[in-house]
């Protein structure tokens, strides 16, 4: 888009406001808070609902943002062998990349297992991370059905769901991970 498409403030007063603004921020101190918008140009372009749909990749732990589609553990197992096993090892036991499969019980000091079944608090994270990043040499190439299938396989391998369970936007959001309550927020509400 061109800057000409967007409204902007002009005239001598705008420049004056900008100069004052810049001076007031010259010290390396934290900003006191939101600056009044009148001190800066407004150059953004409005996003339409369609724009937001095409940009928005966020998936929340309650399942908001999960796309249509579905997959089974069985389909996921063969996809895992094709795309994931080389780095994550046979059955997700780990190789050059992380171990993914572990016991469905929270980690302990004696057995600090950080595999999906032991450590991950939300199953939606699996779908989200695969969709963003996998396979790394061609990320974004898997269909939603394939991602649901891989997610289902990893949940079965970690003994979280059954072999026959189908994963989709509704069922994946309902999966409760064993370590959901295993975290303490430190610097956040």
């Amino acid at each position: 888009m061109s800057m000409r498409d967007t409204p902007m403030r002009s005239g001598p007063l705008a420049g004056l406001a900008l100069a004052v603004f810049a001076t007031s921020l010259s010290a390396a101190e934290p900003l006191p808070g939101i600056q009044p918008g009148s001190q800066a140009p407004t150059l953004g372009t409005p996003m339409s609902a369609d724009d937001i749909t095409s940009w928005n990749l966020t998936i929340f732990p309650d399942g908001r943002g999960l796309p249509p589609g579905q997959g089974t553990p069985e389909q996921g197992r063969s996809l895992f062998v094709t795309y994931c096993e080389r780095c994550h090892g046979v059955d997700g036991r780990g190789a050059t990349a992380d171990e993914l499969v572990g016991p469905p019980t929270p980690p302990t000091d004696a057995d600090p297992n950080k595999s999906i079944g032991s450590y991950w608090p939300y199953a939606t994270t699996i779908f989200d991370f695969i969709r963003r990043n996998k396979p790394p040499e061609n990320s974004g190439s898997l269909s939603n059905d394939e991602i649901y299938s891989l997610t289902a396989y990893l949940l079965v391998a970690n003994q979280i769901i059954g072999e026959q369970d189908v994963m989709n936007a509704k069922t994946l959001a309902q999966v409760k991970m064993p370590n959901r309550d295993g975290f303490i927020r430190i610097d956040a509400p």
């Binding site: 407004t42 780095c87 050059t96 963003r132 927020r185």
Partner: protein
């Protein structure tokens, strides 16, 4: 070298021969410095011929025109060993880290070319004309900004440390790792960052009063995302376009990086493309599976954003060598994600006694602070430590205290006091002491 020091100067203020920091302000004082051991690094190019008689008083570059102008400078060929060390996944070379060679640098600014890296899937080659920043979610006016748009906003400059939450994680190991200070602690760097205060853009999209989180997303082939409390971003975050005066390097987020002062590196999202204003975190992979710290109780610390105070002695340090009993300058770096460094103390007797180091100006919040101390080494075995205190009163903990509190399975946020053991031969090793 010690001839310019009088008896009063050499009066130790702490065990092992640490001297008063005022000594460093004495005019004309020259102290010894531990040097890189030849096996680790050499200062001359390997095929340089031995100096012929007269060559040092009249070298060739006094007699021949030098090279012409260059449109973009580069370091001397004789500094070609000052490089980032790289640790990457052999199956996925774009997934890994590179460490800043802290032991080879002085002052507080990390050259952009030596800033540490952590990438999940390589460095994208982003055309700024094709890059956008989208801000949407719980806002009244969702908007997209071009890079040209952002370049026309008022800007702010801050010199800031960025430290990876996983920096220094070898400190959790049972045995002290033997690597250079940079290859151990070098996932921290300090740059001057310039960009648009994010508060300005957030004001223009009209934040819903119920919003409390922002999910920030990068434009690499991992589309890395992470959730950050809105209040912090309103307080002091910058959407940065410049690093050390020039546009940000690709490996540091070109064309746009979210700078969140004092918070762990992963929330300083590179290649920033989207800010989703929400009421809750996304619980993304990099805030659940990673960047959380398992405690002995079996519970894990989560959203541990602030990088607590830390200090390191960069000289003398492992890989360097002491050259006999002498008065040495100890030097190092200290920083705190909570504000300014208030004090750095140095010990030469393993922490039994401490002397206050000189803090080199400027001392800026959430920025590297260079410290220096004078040390009259008697040539006997010694253990050097440094301990930072920040302006909130937080004191960098001893390793046994940190391990007792956190266990050894947390991996992230290791900021314990670091100890270097020096033997009678002048060799320097990392020790737990």
């Amino acid at each position: 070298m010690a001839t310019s020091l009088d008896a009063d100067d050499l009066q130790a203020v702490a065990g092992g021969g640490l001297l008063h920091r005022r000594l460093l302000l004495k005019s004309g004082l020259a102290l010894a410095t531990a040097m890189a051991a030849p096996a680790i690094a050499q200062s001359a190019e390997p095929d340089a011929p031995p100096a012929a008689p007269g060559s040092l008083s009249s070298p060739s570059w006094l007699h021949r025109p030098g090279k012409p102008f260059s449109s973009y400078g580069a370091p001397s060929q004789f500094e070609n060993r000052v490089i980032r060390s790289i640790g990457a996944n052999r199956d996925l070379p774009g997934n890994g880290v590179s460490w800043t060679p802290l032991e080879s640098l002085e002052g507080i600014i990390t050259p952009s070319s030596l800033h540490f890296e952590r990438h999940h899937n390589g460095v994208p080659d982003i055309d700024p004309a094709q890059h956008r920043l989208a801000i949407h979610g719980d806002v009244s006016a969702p908007q997209i900004f071009t890079i040209d748009n952002l370049l026309r906003y008022p800007m702010r400059t801050q010199t800031l440390v960025i430290e990876c939450g996983g920096n220094s994680n070898a400190g959790w190991h049972e045995e002290p790792i033997q690597r250079s200070v940079g290859a151990f602690h070098g996932l921290v760097s300090c740059s001057e960052w310039t960009g648009v205060p994010l508060a300005i853009l957030l004001d223009q999209v009209g934040i819903d009063p119920k919003a409390s989180w922002v999910i920030a997303e990068g434009g690499d082939a991992a589309i890395m995302n992470v959730s950050i409390p809105l209040a912090k971003l309103i307080d002091d975050a910058i959407v940065a376009l410049y690093q050390n005066g020039e546009r940000i390097r690709p490996e540091n987020g070109y064309p746009l990086r979210l700078i969140v002062p004092g918070w762990e590196g992963v929330v300083n999202v590179k290649w920033l493309r989207r800010l989703h204003i929400t009421t809750e975190p996304a619980m993304a992979r990099n805030e659940t599976s990673k960047y959380t710290e398992l405690l002995p109780s079996g519970k894990a610390r989560m959203f541990t954003f602030v990088m607590d105070a830390k200090s390191l002695i960069t000289s003398p340090s492992p890989g360097q060598k002491m050259h006999g009993a002498n008065v040495y300058e100890i030097k190092g770096l200290a920083w705190s994600g909570r504000g300014r460094v208030a004090k750095v103390e140095v010990s030469a007797d393993g922490g039994t006694s401490w002397a206050e180091a000189l803090l080199q100006d400027p001392v800026l919040p959430r920025c590297f602070t260079r410290f220096r101390a004078a040390w009259n080494w008697d040539g006997k075995p010694a253990i050097l430590k440094s301990r930072a205190t920040d302006e909130t009163g937080y004191v960098q903990p001893e390793r046994d205290v940190l391990v007792a509190e956190r266990g050894r399975n947390g991996y992230f946020h290791y900021n314990a006091i670091v100890a270097w053991g020096i033997d009678e031969d002048g060799a320097i090793r990392h020790v737990y002491a």
